[in-house]
Subunit: 170 residues, 2 copies
């Protein structure tokens, strides 16, 4: 199977803070870190304005780095319904931004991300972050957590699609 | 208090179906029905594309009718967290569309809508829809339910702001 160089943006969606991370898979299969960060919006802004700002920031990031595909964490484990709606709204902003850039979007559960990065689903956050650092050849664990998680989702997508195993690519 | 003529769009947010309804409050305080309908997206499209389509359809509706403000139902009562995230994503699309049109957004719980339309919070859906029909001088109850609910939210916003009672206008 021929693997072409490709860039994926991983997104760890949220309302107050959304993590993103960009990784290139080189033609020889090596992973290369490109960028990571978070989008935050002023907490004293109203909700619609914050969502628009999040959406526009993500569009700008996509426009800057022009990734080939997007990987977003699936969210099942919110503490309560109110939080779930709020995070869902932020996740909606991310998906709309991806669709507006006509990117294919892969969605992965936290379990799938852990399995792809560490090799088993019971791995803890620190183990995942440590593996992200190693896999990308970084000198430190990426900060903050949301950005490290986003890089993990990006790597998960590259591993999963390289293995031709896109079960949840709906 | 001087009441100027103004147009509000009410939105009953969802993922598969989003209701909208536009109502004008005339200078004498009378309500005038303008339009109502629903935005649906093809169920065989993937989620990001459906959200983008929803967002773009709502932007088009806002651009067509140019309302002065937007009222959106608050969602607390989803059956489960998975549904809440999905509906939250649809609600995010609606809020981003409103913010992109620089509309002030009022948010109302179902209880507040029932109280504003029927006068008490235990009213059932049929009573609310019947009152929407009467208040807007329509010959029939607006269809489908999502559009009738959206008109109810629009009327709720007009009643609440006329009474200078915008407790949840965050």
């Amino acid at each position: 199977m021929i693997v072409k160089s490709r860039v994926v943006i991983g997104i760890d969606p949220g309302f107050a803070i959304t993590g993103y991370g960009l990784v290139r898979e080189q033609e020889n299969g090596d992973l290369e870190w490109i960028s990571h960060g978070v989008v935050t919006t002023p907490s004293d802004w109203d909700e619609p304005k914050r969502l628009l700002e999040l959406y526009q920031n993500l569009c700008e990031i996509l426009n800057t780095y022009k990734p080939d595909c997007c990987a977003v964490e699936k969210l099942f484990f919110q503490k309560n319904v109110k939080t779930a709606i709020s995070v869902g709204q932020g996740r909606g902003a991310a998906l709309i931004a991806a669709a507006a850039s006509e990117l294919p979007v892969g969605e992965y559960t936290p379990l799938e991300v852990k399995q792809a990065i560490v090799g088993y689903g019971n791995a803890d956050k620190q183990q995942v972050q440590q593996m992200v650092k190693i896999l990308l050849g970084l000198s430190e664990i990426p900060q903050p957590d949301d950005a490290a998680d986003a890089l993990a989702v990006a790597i998960c997508h590259l591993h999963s699609t390289r293995r031709n195993h896109i079960s949840n690519y709906d």
